[in-house]
Symmetry: C2
Subunit: 299 residues, 2 copies
């Protein structure tokens, strides 16, 4: 057992957390959320998604968000850019880091973006090239790493293959997503072991969902393996599109509480973070899915 | 890392889970809950509490519950008996196992049962004696093992001292309760290490609350130490009296899902268990606090 001394949190609430909200959320609210997260000590915020408003209407104001940011020194504000058009838009807004999104499941890739995994990877190549040309770092996501809503089980070797392709294409970090939150700790460990054969452990991140309540146990298990970057969403914003009413992203507050208890540094102020969770869920009329947030607010 | 091959679940829903419900729950519903839990493969059910109805009105029908049970072979139906009067009542109902309840926190003991820890232990002595005389096994609980709502931190040595006293008094098993759910994995491990200096690991149980979302991570950590008995409550029934609206007992469904994923046998049918959680929460009008239960119901 050798836990990392520090863990970097990647806050995905403003993008992954809000993107499926049916009611429009104002740009001002998004900017306020991002500003508060930075002030609480979060050092990496996924702020917007440069996709067509036809597909994700909630992210239609990506330009206003990316250009309206009050930047804090030392904080990275990233944007999801699934294709070259999205990347060009993000570059025009002065983005310093972007992300691309692949899947470890053929069925998920087909249903989600209407192409095979190999085709999706091929589409990312010009995105990576253009980003490198512009001096912008690219983070890669792999979804369905511990299960797929259509295929069920996913082989760790398949995850490793997709992660390796993204890494070799130039992604500086690959985030491994348990999109449907069905993973358990040993399965998560085995997946990480498979992926880390090809990619150094410090280039990997865990992006776990809490749909089955296992996210913190899974994070504990993969941190034992050396994982030191964790994606999470304040108040567990996001839900699960594959099981309505269920949890999605693990809540940042719950992760920080776990890390504080393990003596792992994050630089994040938990009380401030919990207050943000209370504020944003009240503002958008959603339940607070952070147990730490609910417990602290009830004290 | 050497996980146990089997874990025994102690289902506390019908007692710990229901005891603070303000609206009366019918004896028939309680009996139906207990019957369904047994049919799902649960082998140990805490069914009632022989306390004064003045203090716990919801448990006033303890006699009707204990004598109305349709017993299943191989299932233990236990009752909480905090004093000799309670024990005599339970014995009249033909109980085969009882439990007593101590605290690792002086402040909690004073506020909760109006006496010191030492005084509470002294009160249990005649209960243990009488139970042994009657051939009835006694389980001991220690509360506040990872924190106290009044004192805050609790020293592992204090937990070990109280647990040892209960064990030496004749409790065949000591259940270690994180009453306010503030524990994290390393703290839980250190506490278990301290207690297991005096008591064999196979005589200890983990009774963790999920108030801060840490219960499964904590269970994972203490199972790595060898803990193989886990207390839980179907649908997470119970809430937390110290943080209104927050979670209490870890949900049995979430624990079974974790154990299934780790390849640890429980003999419990998860789908049946989840259906019980849906049914009982609908019946008593409470939210289902099992993430597994909610996710399975939403599929």
């Amino acid at each position: 057992m050798a836990f990392p001394k520090q863990v970097r949190l990647v806050e995905v609430g403003p993008r992954d957390g809000l993107q499926n909200e049916p009611e429009p959320i104002s740009t001002a609210t998004k900017l306020e959320l991002i500003a508060r997260l930075g002030a609480a000590g979060i050092r990496y915020i996924e702020a917007a998604s440069f996709v067509s408003p036809k597909w994700v209407p909630q992210m239609a104001d990506h330009r206003e968000v990316m250009t309206g940011l009050k930047r804090i020194d030392g904080v990275t504000y990233a944007a999801l850019t699934p294709n070259l058009k999205g990347l060009e838009g993000a570059l025009e807004c002065g983005v310093e880091e972007v992300a691309v999104f692949g899947a470890a499941s053929e069925a998920f890739s087909q249903k989600n973006i209407n192409c095979s995994v190999a085709e999706s990877l091929a589409r990312f190549e010009p995105v990576l090239e253009r980003a490198q040309q512009a001096g912008v770092r690219v983070r890669g996501y792999v979804s369905c790493v511990l299960g797929c809503p259509y295929e069920g089980e996913i082989a760790p070797a398949k995850v490793a293959e997709v992660a390796k392709a993204l890494y070799e294409m130039g992604c500086y970090e690959v985030s491994l997503g348990d999109t449907i939150g069905t993973g358990t700790p040993l399965k998560a460990k085995r997946m990480i072991e498979a992926v880390s054969c090809d990619i150094p452990m410090d280039k990997l991140a865990a992006h776990f969902h809490d749909t089955y309540g296992q996210a913190l146990a899974n994070l504990y298990a993969v941190m034992e393996e050396g994982i030191a970057v964790v994606d999470s969403s304040v108040a567990g914003l996001g839900g699960c599109p594959y099981a309505k009413g269920a949890s999605g992203n693990v809540a940042s507050e719950d992760v920080v509480y776990l890390l504080d208890g393990l003596g792992i540094e994050t630089g994040i102020d938990l009380d401030k973070l919990a207050a943000i969770g209370t504020w944003i869920t009240q503002t958008i009329g959603r339940p607070n899915r952070s147990k730490v947030g609910v417990a602290l607010a009830a004290k």
